[in-house]
């Protein structure tokens, strides 16, 4: 546990908390970007360079932009008059706190059994590529089909309907 870890953890937590607590939805999306970037740096801290840069490209690059577009297309940046939290916010908060309590308790209980700092693995992008086209080739193809289907489906779902009264 070093200073870098604490700084990155604090940055990620602050980004996540701001994304969930701010009133303006556009500010929430920007805070979400900070949280995603902090997570990418945590991956780099864990010697997972490929996953870290994939996180940067996909989340900070694509998903954050997609969220901003959705907010602007739905006029979601206007703060509603009757608050940003639902009527049952207390129950939701209690559920989340209970989940965190259970997770933290189980982690702290098993601290003695968790392995100590292992040797940093040296994984090159070439190894990852070889694994992707040998052992993990079937999941890779399935993910390719899934992404194609999901993106076409998303466009069709969000597309204007020509017939009927819907504009």
């Amino acid at each position: 546990m070093n200073l870098v870890f604490y700084l990155l953890a604090a940055l990620t937590m602050a980004g996540g908390l701001a994304a969930m607590l701010l009133k303006n939805t556009v500010h929430c999306a920007l805070a979400l970007t900070v949280a995603f970037a902090g997570l990418a740096m945590l991956y780099l801290d864990l010697d997972a360079q490929f996953a870290g840069f994939a996180q940067l490209l996909i989340y900070v690059g694509a998903v954050a932009i997609l969220v901003v577009f959705a907010i602007l297309l739905t006029k979601g940046s206007e703060t509603p008059k009757d608050g940003v939290f639902s009527r049952t916010w207390l129950a939701g908060l209690a559920v989340a706190a209970a989940v965190f309590a259970v997770l933290a308790w189980s982690i702290l209980q098993s601290v003695s059994r968790l392995s100590q700092a292992a040797q940093a693995p040296t994984v090159t992008v070439q190894q990852i590529g070889m694994a992707l086209i040998s052992r993990y080739v079937l999941p890779l193809e399935i993910v390719a089909v899934l992404l194609t289907v999901a993106l076409i489906g998303a466009v069709i779902v969000a597309m204007h309907e020509k017939e009927g009264g819907a504009q």
Partner: protein, 103 residues
């Protein structure tokens, strides 16, 4: 406390923040953002266990995280498309006001 436990605690806290947001926010897009945070917390767990697990050279946890990132991207695209579609029909993204399945 070991480094692995620190990463697991960070992931647990991030998951709880995302869960709290998904359960309490009224805006559907913010609920999706909460779900994204929960998915990312799970990815952090996968990579932390890969790094401190017994066989990091097998790449299992890393691959799981990469595929999880890809599936989460598909989920975000479909979810936001649905929110835009609902907004076109109901002219709101407030989940407390979405109480009809008929369009």
């Amino acid at each position: 406390m070991t480094t692995l436990a620190g990463f697991l605690l960070v992931a647990a806290l991030l998951f709880s923040i995302g869960l709290a947001g998904a359960l309490t926010r009224r805006n559907a897009i913010l609920v999706l953002i909460g779900i994204e945070l929960m998915l990312n917390a799970a990815n952090l767990n996968l990579i932390a266990f890969w790094r401190y697990g017994p066989h990091p050279e097998a790449l299992t946890g890393m691959m799981f995280a990469i595929f999880s990132i890809a599936v989460a991207a598909a989920e975000a695209a479909v979810g936001l498309g649905l929110v835009i579609s609902i907004h076109r029909h109901a002219h709101t993204t407030d989940l407390d006001l979405m109480n009809r399945m008929k369009g």
